[in-house]
């Protein structure tokens, strides 16, 4: 029995879930409103976009690369899509809207892949370049104005709720349809990374490129697919943000410039135990933890200007909490 517990505790996801649980309990003791269905719905709404973006950066990081431009790419794809549609007075099926955005984002992630895998540029710098370029390009070449007239069904999507719940105070909170997007995308990613040959190869490339090549893996091809998948995810996330926000704008402030939240979620979810390799479940827990903290600090009476500070402190606690079973490095003597 004891051994069983120890083994389960070795999984980073389990530890993260426990930390999450502890924080939920702590917050709920301070303000019972935290532990309500209504608040859960609010959490979903607040974390929807970041949760999906986190998947994009997660798969890229699992492959041992990096993408600093995912949020900019997603926002760019969505804004350009909306711009094209409104300029031409089009109101297509929502699937078409998503598709256009996805294709734009895939093309941009292809550019990232080209720089990282073909030109062998340092991923962080190259994708930061992409981000900077796009941030400016959208303002110079497309438009600077907000687009309030979204395609009708995308607008409708923003107002589609699955359920309603009420806080103790009587304020209503609704469960946004984006929860389905999150659930489906995380499930697909989980299956992809855990049960498919492709997922295994992504982890292999992430662990050691040269070793992966020796194993007969086409590293460039795997990375290409990884970046294209990131493109798909960004394309969806961008449109979803516009739907939830009910307007489209270049470089939305809650996404562009907040990439670190998604990246931190992935790192929290990966942990640094010997089993560290990144997973959809870990990322989800990381996103939930991050969003839960920043969402609820106000509810437990912490002034809003403390939010960033408290988030930082709690992230430290989260990371330290996961360190307990870091692999012991075999010293040179043991190794010999």
């Amino acid at each position: 029995m004891k051994k069983w517990i120890k083994k389960v505790l070795e999984y980073n996801e389990v530890k993260l879930a426990l930390i999450f649980l502890a924080i939920v309990v702590l917050f709920s003791l301070i303000n019972p409103d935290v532990f309500t269905v209504a608040n859960l719905y609010a959490l979903v709404r607040a974390s929807a976009t970041n949760a999906i973006y986190a998947l994009a950066i997660m798969i890229v990081m699992c492959s041992g690369a990096f993408d600093a431009s995912f949020a900019v790419i997603g926002s760019f794809g969505a804004y350009v899509t909306m711009y094209i549609l409104t300029q031409n007075g089009l109101d297509p099926h929502p699937a078409i809207v998503f598709l256009i955005s996805i294709l734009i984002c895939m093309a941009l992630e292809f550019l990232n892949w080209f720089m990282v895998s073909i030109l062998h540029l340092q991923a962080y710098i190259a994708t930061t370049g992409t981000a900077s370029l796009l941030k400016g390009a959208v303002l110079v070449f497309v438009s600077t104005s907000y687009i309030y007239t979204l395609p009708s069904q995308i607008g409708a999507l923003g107002k589609t709720y699955l359920a309603t719940a009420v806080y103790g105070s009587g304020i209503e909170s609704q469960l946004h349809v984006s929860v389905i997007f999150i659930a489906v995308m995380y499930l697909v990613m989980h299956i992809l990374m855990t049960y498919t040959n492709f997922g295994r190869q992504v982890y292999a490339v992430g662990a050691d490129e040269e070793a992966a090549e020796r194993a007969g893996i086409n590293v460039k091809r795997i990375r290409l697919i990884v970046f294209l998948i990131a493109g798909v995810i960004c394309g969806v996330a961008g449109i979803l943000r516009d739907a939830v926000g009910r307007f489209s704008l270049p470089n939305p402030a809650e996404v562009v410039g907040k990439e670190n939240i998604s990246i931190a979620a992935v790192i929290l979810g990966t942990g640094n135990s010997s089993k560290a390799r990144g997973s959809a479940l870990g990322t989800l827990l990381g996103v939930l933890l991050m969003s839960f903290i920043s969402n609820n600090l106000i509810l437990i009476g912490i002034p809003s200007f403390y939010v960033e500070l408290a988030t930082g402190v709690l992230m430290y606690i989260g990371l330290v909490g996961q360190m307990s079973n870091r692999p012991r490095r075999h010293s040179a003597k043991e190794g010999k």
Binding site: Y195, T196, N197, F198, R200, Q201, Y203, A204, G206, A207, D208, E210, A211, A212, E213, R214, A215, G216, I217, S274, K275, A276, R277, P327, R328, H330, A332, K333, E334, G335, K336
Partner: protein, 504 residues
């Protein structure tokens, strides 16, 4: 009956940017054969292996694998032909379990959309059983020891229906016991019909295990033969590898009757060594040997103050300084120590060769304001580097670009530039080929002879001690069991003394 040839290479040429790596190489392997491939660093061994495993295309020549001719071959095709290479770094994936690693190659080659984790685990357990290894298939590779990782790499090759296993320097990171175990496994593989190419620097192992030997020099095979027909002597192998005869002359040392430079009295560190007493004069080269765990490395570290001894005395130039308490104190008394794990800790791999060579003395070239005297420094660089011959040395290239043996030389030079009075070397030539070894030995001997440095060489290689030292101490279970002048003893005697359980 002629056996089926797994690999047959005839008259192969390969060059990189005008540098010839293979120059008319001939090589062949039969089923179930164990063949040792030996040669100095840079002789083309790695190139040959990389051509067989499909990483490099070749320029000219004939390549047949399983009696099928290939104009070019890629890694996937090579794996499909049953060729598996275990590289020195094992190429395992730290973020995966033992089972996932063992079956990784087949998972990739299987090209199935989904993977069956239960099946992977079952097959991994079967493979582990095949070489009688008990390692938890669910353990993550990052938690394993070096020798366990190697076993996993072997299992991974076997899980691939391997017909030819190439092992690149498989024994450098293993203890004597682990090497024995590995050799047993290799013999077991042979019994199962697997052919093995053993690339090794350690000639004892080469002679013990193989059916045949191919010796390479300058990109071609200079010797091919079966050990059943003729066993080469160590000297012959060295001759074929280097094209030079090495003398077996003992390092001669004549005492001038001075006060010993270093005297160690009753040195004791609980649990490591006890009651160690010896002395060493100017210009002496003293060897200390013993099996792993006899306390030899701990003694070396204690003398350099890394892990200070509990009790005893050290006399330097006859002056009692008690115990050497820390590294600063050791350096103050002009003691230098070259550790055994210098490849990981001893060099700044990305920095230039020249910078590495002078890093220990950098402080001497700094002005009061911390700026460096570039001109004097560059003279020192030239001076330091002139003491050794490194093939294709470009001082501004990173150390990483050098072969292992040459890196070792740079590491040694780095310490020598401090002109120590007492130099302690812990396994100075581990993983170095014979040519580089003899050059390193020359450097050490010159240092003792010309500068009067007292050198303590810790080594598990009796041959090296015979070549290099004028006196030897054998340590057993933390104590000195035997002391001999090299001139009065033989290699056989020392080896027998080492092998004995306990000498009283």
């Amino acid at each position: 009956m002629s056996m089926k040839k797994i690999v047959n290479i005839e008259n192969m040429y390969k060059s990189f940017f005008g540098v010839v790596a293979l120059d008319g190489m001939n090589f062949s392997m039969e089923e179930g054969e164990i063949r040792c491939l030996v040669g100095e660093n840079g002789c083309g061994k790695s190139t040959l292996i990389k051509i067989i495993s499909g990483f490099y295309p070749f320029d000219e020549g004939k390549l047949e694998i399983n009696e099928k001719e290939y104009k070019s071959i890629n890694p996937a095709e090579s794996i499909a032909e049953g060729i598996q290479v275990i590289y020195q770094d094992f190429s395992l994936f730290d973020n995966m379990t033992v089972a996932e690693n063992i079956l990784m190659y087949s998972t990739v080659a299987g090209k199935k959309m989904f993977i069956n984790n239960t099946n992977i685990k079952k097959k991994a357990i079967d493979t582990l059983k095949r070489i009688n290894v008990s390692i938890d298939p669910d353990a993550y590779v990052s938690t394993l020891s070096v020798s366990q990782k190697q076993l996993i790499a072997i299992c991974r090759a076997l899980a691939q229906d391997c017909k030819l296993l190439v092992m690149d320097e498989p024994t450098t990171a293993l203890t004597t016991h682990e090497v024995e175990r590995l050799l047993e496994i290799v013999k077991e593989l042979k019994a199962q019909g697997v052919a093995v190419i053993f690339v090794s620097h350690k000639l004892e192992e080469v002679l013990e295990i193989c059916d045949s030997i191919t010796i390479m020099r300058s990109g071609r095979n200079v010797y091919d033969g079966k050990t059943t027909e003729r066993i080469l002597s160590k000297e012959e192998i060295i001759y074929y590898m280097t094209g030079k005869q090495f003398s077996d002359k003992v390092y001669e040392f004549k005492s001038e009757g001075d006060i010993p430079l270093l005297q160690v009295k009753n040195y004791t560190l609980d649990g490591a060594f006890e009651d160690i007493s010896f002395q060493i004069e100017k210009g002496e080269i003293l060897g200390i040997t013993g099996i792993l765990g006899c306390g030899r490395s701990e003694l070396a570290e204690a003398l350099f103050g890394v892990v200070p001894a509990d009790s005893g005395n050290v006399l330097i130039d006859g002056k009692d300084i008690g115990i050497i308490k820390n590294i600063e104190q050791a350096i103050e008394h002009e003691i230098a120590y070259v550790p055994d794990d210098r490849l990981t800790k001893g060099l700044h791999l990305e920095q230039s060769i020249a910078d590495n060579a002078v890093i220990r003395v950098l402080g001497e070239f700094a002005s009061r304001f911390g700026t460096l005297d570039k001109k004097a420094l560059s003279e020192q660089k030239t001076k330091s580097l002139s003491t050794l011959s490194v093939a294709g040395l470009v001082p501004d290239n990173p150390v990483r670009s050098l072969s292992g043996g040459n890196q070792q030389k740079i590491c040694l030079i780095k310490w020598l530039s401090t002109n120590p009075h007492i130099l302690i070397l812990n396994c100075p030539t581990v993983g170095v080929d014979v040519g580089a070894k003899s050059e390193i030995h020359d450097i050490i001997r010159n240092l003792a002879r010309e500068n009067g440095t007292a050198v303590v060489v810790i080594s598990d290689d009796v041959y090296e001690i015979m070549q290099l030292c004028n006196r030897v101490l054998i340590m057993k279970q933390g104590r000195i069991a035997l002391e001999k002048n090299i001139a009065d003893t033989t290699m056989e005697y020392l080896e027998a003394a080492l092998a004995e359980e306990k000498t009283t």
